[in-house]
Amino acid sequence: MTLTTRRGATKPARRRDRAVEALWGYAFIAPIGLGLAVFYLWPVLQTAYFSFTEWGAFGGHTWTGAANYLRLIADPEMGRALVNTLTYTVLGLLAIPLAIVFAALLNTKGLRGVGVYRTMFFLPVVTMPVAIAMVWRWLYNGEYGLINLVLSLVGIDGPNWIADPDTALYALVVVGVWSSVGYNLIIFLAGMQAIPKEYYEAAAIDGAGPVRQFVKVTLPLLSPTAFFVSVISVIGSLQLFDLVYVIGGSGSSARSNPAFPRLETVVQLFYERAFVTNDRGYAAAIVMALLVLIIALTAFQFRLQRRWVHYA
């Protein structure tokens, strides 16, 4: 299409132009769109459908209406899995202030070996979660673990961290926070470097010291980043599975762990119903409930952001 025809085009023709353009747009996003539709959207819809059915172990399903959801509400195991998951999610948010503090320290001008520190903090992010979990499992071992060895040097008899109902979930949170600080830190570092220097110069002229600058300039301008990180980490925490599966035990050694009632997460319960006890319709209902919870909590966070997020 040339410029001359466009200049002379009437209104409907311009609309046609736009339609053609839109068509091309769709054509370009088709590969990814199709992939999403086939591998994400369609399974979601199917799962939603199956959550209203009872599944045989080898396919074949019968419509049971809301039976799975009624059972879900009455299932004490679902209740405690929810409590565990939400506790983990809330405690996991500790990674955000920690990451901000470390990011601010790493952002200090003239810090030597900053590359080394950044690499160290980021290392857990590029390490496989299962490998991390294995190493932590050894560290936490009640008899032979390094943590209890160190504690015994100062006369403390440490517990069986991951097998004791009183400590297991917190032990898990420590690993979760430890492995996510690095990722959050990189995002916060980027956010800090995007804050214009002029603000700090102005603050300095007004007599603000480094701490005051951090509180009055850095923190407010970092709030959009913090919002993003908190949305992402809440969603991630609600889907916790791999860490607890390796640290808390998998297969029969998960349930025989005395701390299991305090460790079991929603996704773990889903996994057991779907792939161990052949109860797939119910498993589908579990993940649909989780999906609703994730959407609700995310919407809630978006509402809340008006109160505390400052866009410069």
């Binding site: 889907q239 349930r255 006890t277």
Partner: protein, 422 residues
């Protein structure tokens, strides 16, 4: 949701991959003539892959028109993958089956009944231990031929016995003998225990003592739980008492460090384990010259749980005749002789001497002698469901949170509810 979508995609992918494999396997031969066929054969044990390939070659040597493609899927993913494949109608032609999963597959029509073939070819089933034949019988029909077998024994650490001057277990020892040995061998100050009351492996622990006490796990018709039976409870109390008396590590310790690891570190004097532990203990630098094996002690009666893998045929195989030929070969004496030299104990009676001779340092005959009084592995249509309940309820008895009678009675109620749904 992302997770479940991803899982959905993964399952879909597996189904695709599996169907692609089996589709690629069928190469139609010259029209009218003898068809060239490739069978897929799924198994889970990496250690046995070479011997399975050797068996496949031996089979092709006598059946030149049939080749076998041995497909290894490690245990962790074997059943998930097989279930996805069977759901998509693309299960391998022949595959390994175990007791806990068998009825689920047989009752859902995934397996091909081999009744006619067995009758027509006059296959003698009496050469296999009867509990194994029964294990793979559903609705009166046979669905597989036993491949191997395993029984349970007491592995003991001779060094720890010598240190406490305790005589080694006799072949005819009893529960009382076992308990007094445990008491003498336990030394909590040194972190050494007479035994470990492992909760997670019922096949090696609870099922044996339940049978020895005269109890049962599931009624023969598979409809009723035996966990509220007083004798069954005695079989469980055998273990919880040991923990209470500090003659076994507590459950927290066994969660952190598995009993097998404790045994291999010289912290446990007696470890109840299967015949499959032979290769592990023979290779381990600590255990290879310090341990030996004795029969399980006798309670009300003598008993050991027997289990074995069977070869089964997919109901949807396109080559049922060839698949049966292969299964028949795998169940033959010729195949058992090859298997016994390299793998687990062959199920075929009279072919086990090579297995015993492979490790003269251990009294492996113990495991074969146990077949005479072996008890069947308890299963039902959805074994996995009540296997989970066993752990959920008995954990409370193992930690001492609940008396064992209470935990077992609650387990019986939960298990009965699950059995009613089957």
């Amino acid at each position: 949701m992302r997770k479940s979508a991803r899982l959905g995609a993964a399952v879909f992918g597996v189904v695709l991959a599996v169907s692609a494999c089996s589709a690629g396997g069928d190469e139609p031969g010259a029209a009218g003539g003898q068809e060239k066929v490739t069978l897929s054969y799924a198994m889970w044990d990496n250690n046995q892959k070479p011997v399975m390939e050797e068996l496949s070659k031996a089979f092709t040597a006598t059946h030149p028109d049939i080749t076998v493609n041995v497909q290894l899927t490690p245990w962790e993913g074997y059943w998930t993958k097989l279930k996805a494949a069977a759901t998509g109608g693309a299960a391998p032609d022949v595959f390994w089956m175990n007791g806990p999963n068998f009825q689920l597959y047989a009752s859902n029509g995934v397996l091909r009944p081999l009744e006619e073939e067995i009758t027509n070819d006059k296959v003698d089933l009496s050469v296999y231990p009867k509990p194994l034949i029964d294990l793979y019988t559903f609705d009166g029909k046979h669905f597989g031929l036993p491949k191997d077998m395993d029984t349970i024994g007491v592995w003991y650490n001779k060094t720890l016995f010598d240190a406490k001057k305790v005589p080694y277990p006799a072949d005819d020892w009893t529960w009382d003998d076992f308990k007094s040995a445990v008491a003498k061998l336990s030394d909590p100050a040194k972190g050494v225990y007479g035994t470990a009351a492992q909760l997670t492996s019922f096949q090696e622990y609870q099922y044996n003592t339940i049978d020895q006490a005269g109890g049962f796990v599931i009624s023969p018709d598979g409809k009723k739980s035996g966990y509220d039976n007083p004798q069954t409870i005695e079989g469980l109390r055998f273990w919880t008492d040991l923990i209470k008396n500090k003659q076994s590590p507590d459950l927290k310790t066994m969660t952190d460090t598995f009993p097998l690891q404790l045994f291999e570190a010289g912290k446990i004097a007696m470890y109840w384990g299967g015949s499959w532990n032979v290769s592990e203990f023979a290779a381990n630098d600590y255990t290879k010259d310090k341990v030996d094996v004795a029969p399980l002690p006798k309670g009300q009666k003598q008993a050991t749980i027997i289990h074995g893998v069977a070869n089964v045929v997919s109901a949807k195989t396109e080559h049922p005749a060839q698949a049966w030929e292969f299964v028949k070969f795998l169940g033959s004496k010729q195949a058992a002789d090859i298997l016994g030299k390299k793998g687990p104990i062959p199920a075929y009676n009279g072919t086990q001497s090579a297995w015993v001779a492979a490790h003269p340092e251990f009294k492996l005959q113990t495991f074969l002698d146990a077949v005479a009084y072996a008890a069947p592995f308890p299963v039902s249509k959805n074994t996995a469901a009540w296997n989970e309940a066993e752990l959920t309820y008995l954990t409370k008895a193992w930690t001492g949170e609940q008396p064992v009678e209470k935990a077992a009675t609650e387990l019986a109620a939960a298990m009965n509810a699950l059995l009613a749904k089957e």
